[in-house]
Symmetry: C2
Subunit: 113 residues, 2 copies
């Protein structure tokens, strides 16, 4: 029972880290391989400093790691399967969502699979 409390706390921390729209898109963007910060910022349409802050959080939690390539920092998922696991949650979103969103979710699920 106490270990359930402890493990639930760890799980909650992981989920909290993932529970941000930018970070979800970021992880799905990295699902196919590494990418540098500026390119990510352009693709996700976010200011680079903001992206850097998100990356800092994910890095601190060891969800992503960094590799230097010249002056670029290439980021990649330590556990690429996490992208799939997140996309799997679309099943639960689709159920609750109005039909319009459910359609979008299906499209995105294909993009993210």
């Amino acid at each position: 029972m106490p270990q359930r409390v402890h493990v639930a706390r760890e799980l909650a921390e992981l989920l909290k880290l993932l529970a941000h729209p930018d970070r979800i898109r970021l992880i799905e963007e990295l699902r196919l391989g590494e990418c540098d910060v500026n390119t990510l910022a352009r693709r996700l349409n976010l200011p680079p400093s903001r992206l850097s802050q998100h990356l800092g959080l994910l890095r601190a939690a060891r969800l992503v790691e960094e590799r230097r390539h010249g002056r670029q920092h290439m980021y990649y998922l330590v556990q690429p399967q996490i992208a799939r696991w997140i996309a799997d949650a679309l099943a639960f979103v689709e159920v609750r969502a109005p039909a319009a969103l459910a359609g979008e979710a299906r499209e995105v699920r294909e993009l993210w699979s």
Copy 2:
């Protein structure tokens, strides 16, 4: 691309809702079937009013539903598979965690599977 933003927002909301240690234990407690608020409070060792607040959030998001039985409110998971999906995230916790926690995680994974 815009639907990705929209869907990522929905996903983030779902994850945020799940990203609380009490709510995670609550959902895992419900994985085998319905239960009333007081019993849940006793099992999770939480004040009933706090549990009720958590249940209110999950109810608003339609993750749980309620059935009246006398003066008790029986709660159950609308999509019981979500409990399994959360437990699957233990794989990602185990990797990052020190060995001690990894052991706990494995035990809990058995309890929650």
